[in-house]
């Protein structure tokens, strides 16, 4: 093979090169229509190519390379301590650039590995993409695995896995297996996902659906959300309806619409649901607020329960000094010492020491020391300890009216 060498600072116009093309520092190569190199293009230092280029391999070192045209590399494109800008499309087998790669047209390769930053002006299609720093792509990203050490900001995605160190933003699509982001993750359009694990903050567009969400700090869904498990360390919110398996929130959890769970909700601070809240069990350290809340298992409230239509569960347990508004309906209803509640309905109702209720309807009712109620209506037994106050005489009846909810 004869090959061709472009000397330092030289400028040539070439159509075809049989063999390798050696390009020295600050050289300029212009394609005569289309430049086809049967061997490898080797650049030492800065270089510029005008027009479309096709070659078997492309190797650059210690330079800034500008490729003004579409580029097809049958094997690998490498840039050692180099930055490469492709102003057209790029197709290669593997791409490995130390510093910066910019591709303004569509890019396709088995793998892209870039040490510094990768910028794409159109779509990118690969099996694997690994970027040490920043990865920005205007169009759709299709890949199995994508990793960025710093920031990732891409268009629609069709991925198996996504990992980013700092932050990641996508414009919807699908990440089938997992998303792992250290700092902040955002999807500005509906996203289908397997699992999301974010250390800091995550925001999803309404209509997103997935298996599990685990966020260390703050989570928000800008509309409806469907999930299996949602776990948030700090604050969580769903601006539409939530539907899923289980929820675990350390601090506050707000849902503007309804929240329908097949399992348990555990909230350390407060939960506020604009419409109805349903599930098997609920445990709230602070405050529960909903139009109505219905659980097939237990409801344990540490502080306050505010409902318009009521709170119903097989077992309702209110901690001492708790407060409720709206009816409580059980099963077994246990009102802690010095708690204040409104109407209570249950198979078995117990008002703890010094607790007060408005009206009590139950089969078996027990009032502990100092408990008080305006009315007590029962069908089975009424047990009262010392200093109990019932303002109207207790009524034993044959049957009670149906309970609310």
């Amino acid at each position: 093979m004869s090959g061709h060498r472009v000397p330092r600072g030289g400028s040539v116009r070439l159509g075809a090169v049989d063999g390798d093309l050696e390009v020295e520092k600050r050289a300029r190569v212009e394609a005569d229509g289309r430049l086809v190199v049967s061997g490898t293009v080797r650049c030492d230092g800065d270089a510029e190519f005008q027009g479309p280029l096709e070659c078997r391999g492309f190797k650059a070192r210690d330079g800034e390379i500008r490729l003004a045209g579409d580029v097809v590399v049958q094997e690998d494109l490498e840039g050692r301590d180099s930055s490469i800008v492709v102003e057209g499309s790029l197709t290669a087998r593997r791409v490995d650039v130390d510093r910066r790669l910019e591709v303004r047209g569509p890019a396709k390769a088995e793998s892209f590995e870039v040490g510094g930053s990768l910028e794409g002006g159109a779509t990118l299609d690969a099996s694997r993409v690994a970027v040490g720093g920043r990865f920005v792509l205007v169009g759709k990203l299709t890949a199995q695995k994508v990793e960025a050490g710093g920031r990732l900001d891409v268009g629609e995605v069709d991925l198996d896995r996504l990992e980013a160190g700092g932050s990641a933003e996508v414009k919807g699509g699908a990440v089938r297996t997992s998303i792992e982001v250290g700092g902040r993750f955002r999807s500005s359009a509906p996203l289908k996902f397997g699992s999301i694990e974010v250390g800091g903050v995550a925001d999803l567009a309404g209509g997103s659906q997935g298996r599990s969400v685990e966020v260390g700090g703050q989570f928000s869904a800008e509309g409806d959300l469907t999930f299996e498990h949602l776990e948030v360390g700090g604050i969580g919110s769903i601006a539409g309806n939530g539907s899923g398996g289980t929820v675990e929130v350390g601090g506050r959890f707000d849902v503007r619409g309804s929240l329908r769970l097949r399992g348990r909700a555990e909230v350390g601070g407060s939960i506020a649901v604009g419409e109805s809240l349903d599930g098997t069990d609920v445990e709230v350290g602070g405050r529960l607020e909903a139009r109505r809340a219905v659980f097939s298992g237990s409801a344990e409230i540490g502080g306050t329960a505010l409902t318009r239509e009521g709170l119903k569960a097989a077992r309702v347990r209110l901690e001492r000094k708790s407060r409720t508004s709206g009816p409580l309906v059980g099963g077994d209803v246990e009102v802690g010492a010095r708690a204040r509640v409104e109407d209570v309905y249950g198979e078995s109702v117990r008002l703890g020491d010094g607790a007060s209720a408005r009206r009590v309807f139950g089969r078996d009712v027990r009032l502990e020391d100092g408990a008080s109620a305006d009315e007590v209506t029962y069908t089975g037994t009424l047990e009262s300890s010392r200093d109990v106050t019932v303002r109207a005489p207790p009524r034993k009846v044959e049957r009670l009216d149906p309970f609310p909810l």
Partner: protein, 105 residues
């Protein structure tokens, strides 16, 4: 690169932000992080990065070994623990907002 550890809104990068940035880049190379590559990824000159990696190594947050006569770096489980705590704490700081002196009641 925008913001601390390329993550959030801009504020002055503190030492912990730099450590987190470097650890995140090292993590992406799965045990084969060369110092030049980490330098491009973290946007930090090699000499400064070398000192920082030494510090991270002394704290047990990264470990290094020779590969082809050159050191390569890997994040340790302790380093991963640092990152988890760092990002969670960053989020809480953001949630809580800027803190003024506690008011008197």
């Amino acid at each position: 690169m925008a913001g601390p550890a390329n993550g959030g809104p801009s504020r002055r990068r503190e030492a912990t932000d730099l450590y987190a940035t470097v650890l995140e880049v090292v993590k992406r190379y799965h045990g084969a992080a060369r110092i030049t590559r980490v330098s491009y990824g973290a946007g930090m000159p090699v000499d400064r990065l070398r000192n920082l990696l030494e510090r991270l190594g002394a704290l047990g947050l990264v470990r290094s070994e020779e590969f082809d006569g050159r050191p390569v770096y890997e994040i340790t489980p302790r380093g991963q623990e640092f990152l988890d705590t760092y990002w969670k704490m960053r989020a809480y700081v953001e949630i809580l907002g800027p803190a003024g002196p506690p008011g008197r009641r």
